[in-house]
Symmetry: C2
Subunit: 107 residues, 2 copies
């Protein structure tokens, strides 16, 4: 689904990743758990995700402080470490301020 | 590929879309043409794309002015119109300033 977000400004974390071949089942479980955990963090606004070789997950947040708290969340720290050790060949995280947005259709 | 981008600040356009079922071949041709055309615009820095039901394309730019010029580019305007009329059930475009980034692996 396209995330339903408020009038800008708000914040986005663009997480782009290339997976290793390993540990697919545990990875999928973790990804689901992290999505569920993110969704109950303070300041969470929504998320969008797709993988087609390259994986792109964009999560939306009320503030930079909300993003900092999510980055420091204990279970999420463990997932970040496992990600570097096992699941990802490479990733890049970009923290952004959404300046304006517009759309079409039921979004 | 994960886009190789400079030290922030720079700008990102997050384009999230849901396709209609129609006109798959023409859509694929247009998508390839728009990716090629974007890549030769002034101020273009790179792009990342994945579709898995939801499509997410993130393009990176040196400035808001470069984004404005790309939005107003003639062939791109035609693709935007065709998108609303035919290819997309819904889309959302978000224009962002990338404040910071960090990564892992060969990015």
């Amino acid at each position: 689904m396209i995330a339903s977000t408020p009038v800008p400004p708000y914040y986005a974390v663009i997480f782009t990743s290339l997976r290793t071949e390993s540990d697919t089942d545990n990875y999928a479980t973790m990804a689901d758990q992290m999505a569920a955990l993110a969704s109950v963090q303070p300041g969470y606004l929504g998320a969008e995700s797709a993988r087609e070789g390259l994986g792109i997950t964009v999560s939306y947040w009320e503030s930079l402080e909300a993003i900092r708290q999510w980055k420091a969340q204990a279970d999420h720290l463990i997932a970040q470490q496992m990600g570097r050790e096992k699941w990802y060949a490479a990733y890049k995280t970009r923290v952004c301020r959404v300046e304006r947005d517009y759309g079409f259709g039921a979004v």
